[in-house]
């Protein structure tokens, strides 16, 4: 799916009968370079790969 920035937002990562589906708000904005390559940015819920720096 193309975003307004002309960048591809990754599709859902889903299958039937999963234990858990994590739901974010939306994909993050692309980097200034236009890079939008990691699921951390291209699926909002992909932020679950990260740790909050405030911890």
């Amino acid at each position: 799916m193309m975003s307004e920035f002309g960048i591809t937002i990754l599709p859902d990562l889903l299958a039937n009968d999963l234990d858990l589906v994590i739901v974010g708000t939306a994909a993050d904005a692309p980097l200034p370079s236009g890079d939008f390559t990691t699921p951390v940015r291209a699926i909002g819920s992909g932020a679950c790969f990260t740790k909050s720096p405030s911890r």
Partner: protein, 131 residues
């Protein structure tokens, strides 16, 4: 974070995200046609009916909102009315949880709801094995 609360056995790198399916974990967003910071998104960007439809079709055991903002948009209530943990509402057979946002923008991270989710997920898998 997923590995830290034992939802995955190993720490996956972002590029390995598709391996989450091997752990029975899927990913989606409430707004699939837009991107940007939550404050940049418009109310129309949030498609709760699409999420309900996807979850009803896929029928996972658990759904976890990664943060109160997504949950508040889904339930259409102010964020202040959202509490972490299990929600009364369900989507079909799918129980709904709200967990602390893993976004770096979240200055008040707490892992309790994620750890509770892992316990429930583990119990759910164990009960399947016993059946």
């Amino acid at each position: 974070m997923l590995h830290e609360v034992a939802l995955t056995l190993i720490e996956l790198r972002p590029g390995e995200y598709a391996k989450l399916l091997d752990y029975g974990i899927g990913l989606t967003d409430l707004a699939k046609g837009a991107c940007g910071a939550d404050s940049d998104l418009k109310p129309a960007d949030f498609d709760r009916m699409r999420l309900r439809s996807v979850i009803k079709t896929r029928s996972p055991r658990l759904l976890a909102f990664n943060g109160k903002t997504a949950a508040a948009h889904y339930f259409d209530v102010p964020t202040a009315q959202i509490n972490y943990g299990r929600q009364l509402d369900t989507i079909g057979r799918t129980a709904i949880y709200v967990c602390s946002s893993t976004s770096p923008a979240n200055g008040r991270w707490c892992c309790e709801a994620w750890e509770e989710l892992e316990c429930i997920s583990e119990q759910s898998r164990a009960s399947d094995v016993l059946v």
